[in-house]
Structure formats: structure tokens, C-alpha cells
């Protein structure tokens, strides 16, 4: 199954929130920050540096990924690839139902060779 085009009603609010670079609106899970720091240690990466690459990937006209079905959190989650520090990286973001906040579940090097819907 090929990657799916990410719908604009998810992309637009997510990109708008990413553009703010505001950690009140962009929430990181404990695990996400942990793995981000470990995977990009070589590049001395700081969390704020990842927002623009995420934004770049999600604002491209053919932004694609896989919808992630989760039981608990209300909202919509997509996983996708993006480029960070010249590495193919894996992103997974939840857009909360009020479209005012996002949760970064993942921003690290891929653990699997393919996304869930590939």
C-alpha cells in the first residue's frame, strides 16, 4: 500500500503550530525528547532546530505519510519521513481535536525500514 497524501485539514493547523516554535503549543513526550537527543547527539541538535525541517516536509505539495490509528488520544495522528541534519528521519505527530496543540510522539531516526501503511 503506498503512502497517502496527508489531508490539508490536518496539515494546515499542524504547520501553523510548528511555525510558532512555541513549546506551549508543541508538546514533546518524554520518550520523544529522549530519543531525539540520543539520535542527533552527533549533530549537537537542539529541539527548536527540528521545527523548520518538519515544517518543510509537511508544507510540500506532496506531503505524504500514514495515518496512525490509536485508541486513546482524541485527535488525528500521522507518521511520515522528513530530513533532519542530512538524515532521513521519522516523525509522528498528533493534532489535538481543538487544532490548537500538537504532540510530538517521534522526531528521530527511523526504527523500521517502512512506515505502517507502506
Amino acid at each position: 500500500m503506498p503512502l497517502q497524501l496527508i489531508p490539508s485539514d490536518w496539515l494546515l493547523p499542524v504547520c501553523a503550530i510548528l511555525a510558532t516554535e512555541d513549546t506551549n503549543l508543541i508538546q514533546w513526550t518524554h520518550d520523544c525528547r529522549n530519543r531525539f537527543d540520543a539520535d542527533f547527539l552527533f549533530a549537537e541538535a537542539w529541539p527548536y532546530e527540528v521545527y523548520r525541517p518538519l515544517l518543510g516536509a509537511l508544507s510540500s505539495p506532496d506531503a505524504s505519510g500514514c495515518p496512525v490509528n490509536m485508541d486513546h488520544p482524541a485527535g488525528t495522528t500521522w507518521e511520515f519521513y522528513f530530513s533532519f541534519k542530512n538524515r532521513r528521519s521519522y516523525g509522528k505527530i498528533l493534532l489535538r481535536p481543538d487544532h490548537q496543540q500538537i504532540v510530538l510522539f517521534s522526531a528521530h531516526l527511523p526504527l523500521k525500514p517502512k512506515l505502517s501503511c507502506e
Partner: protein, 175 residues
């Protein structure tokens, strides 16, 4: 938007990279405020947690902290704009370093430390700006070209060069 979630101090391990960035030099365990999201069943980092983690990382990497950068500039009695012009960085970059929105690179940090320690002064940075070095003038061929050409077409044999006896090639060419 603000659903009140319980905030508690939770352990977090800050990874400090080696100078080469190829390994972990040190692991520093700290407590940072996180909120428990019952729906996600996950701890979420508060904005303060990010600042704490980044400050610890910066301190162990010997990077100047936002408050130190601001205090250093104020001691030099220059504005953010003036300082960014002096070190030839964007004004936004300087502002972001002072507010902790961004961290200086190790290379920039060396310069900041040099200013902090008085090894590089504002006067010296200003003189650097005032040199007004123009590469277009420096590489212009016109002032030097006549001298260069006159050397190449020097009509007499240079006394510094040994006079060579004609060999079979030069004789053949002359014929």
C-alpha cells in the same frame, strides 16, 4: 486549550556529546517538570523542562547560557543590534541566544568567551568593521596588470637567469 494536567518533577537523563559529537561524554540525571496526560498515558515535557534540559546540556558543553550572554553584552554597553553587527551575525540570532530560543554553536561560543574574557574587545570588533575591506578592489586587475605584463614581456634577458647555449631544438627552430 489549557486543560489542567498534574505537573510533577520527573527524572530525565541529559546526554552530553563529546567534542567530536560521536559519542556520549556524560549522562546527567536531573528532575524536570512534566505533565501527565492521562489520555495519552504519557508524560509531556513542559516548556520549563526543555529550558532546564537545554541549560544543563549547554553548561556541560561549556556554552554560554542566555543570561550570561545578555549580561556580557550589557557589560559592553552595546545594544543587541550593535553586538550582532560587531560579530557580523544576524540580529535575530543574538536575540534568540539571549532568550534561550536558540543556542550558539561551539564556534560562536569561542568568540563569545573571548569577548567575555576581554581577549576580544568591542573596539577591536569595531575596527574590524571599519576596515571596510573591498574584495572587488583587491582582485581588480587594473592597478597591477601593467606591471605584470611588463614583467612578462621584459625585452632583455633577465640577468638573474643563466644564459643557455643553443641546443639542437632552438637551432632547428631558428632555421
Amino acid at each position: 486549550m489549557n486543560t489542567h494536567k498534574p505537573i510533577s518533577q520527573q527524572p530525565f537523563e541529559v546526554l552530553i556529546p563529546t567534542m567530536e559529537g560521536d559519542a556520549i561524554a556524560e549522562r546527567v540525571s536531573i528532575q524536570v517538570p512534566m505533565e501527565w496526560d492521562a489520555e495519552l498515558e504519557e508524560f509531556l515535557l513542559t516548556p520549563e523542562a526543555h529550558v532546564l534540559i537545554d541549560d544543563i546540556k549547554a553548561r556541560y558543553m561549556d556554552l554560554m547560557l542566555p543570561a550570561q550572554i545578555k549580561a556580557m553584552r550589557q557589560r559592553q554597553k552595546v545594544s543587541q543590534r550593535q553586538m550582532s553587527e560587531l560579530i557580523q551575525a544576524g540580529e535575530k540570532s543574538w536575540t534568540r541566544w539571549e532568550t534561550g530560543q536558540a543556542r550558539p554553536s561551539r564556534v560562536i561560543n569561542v568568540l563569545l568567551r573571548a569577548i567575555e574574557d576581554g581577549k576580544v574587545t568591542v573596539d577591536w570588533l569595531q575596527s574590524l568593521r571599519n576596515r571596510n575591506f573591498s574584495w572587488s578592489k583587491a582582485v581588480s586587475p587594473f592597478p597591477q596588470a601593467p606591471r605584470l605584463v611588463s614583467f612578462i614581456i621584459y625585452p632583455e634577458p633577465s640577468p638573474l637567469l643563466p644564459q643557455l647555449e643553443p641546443n639542437h631544438e632552438t637551432v632547428a627552430a631558428a632555421a
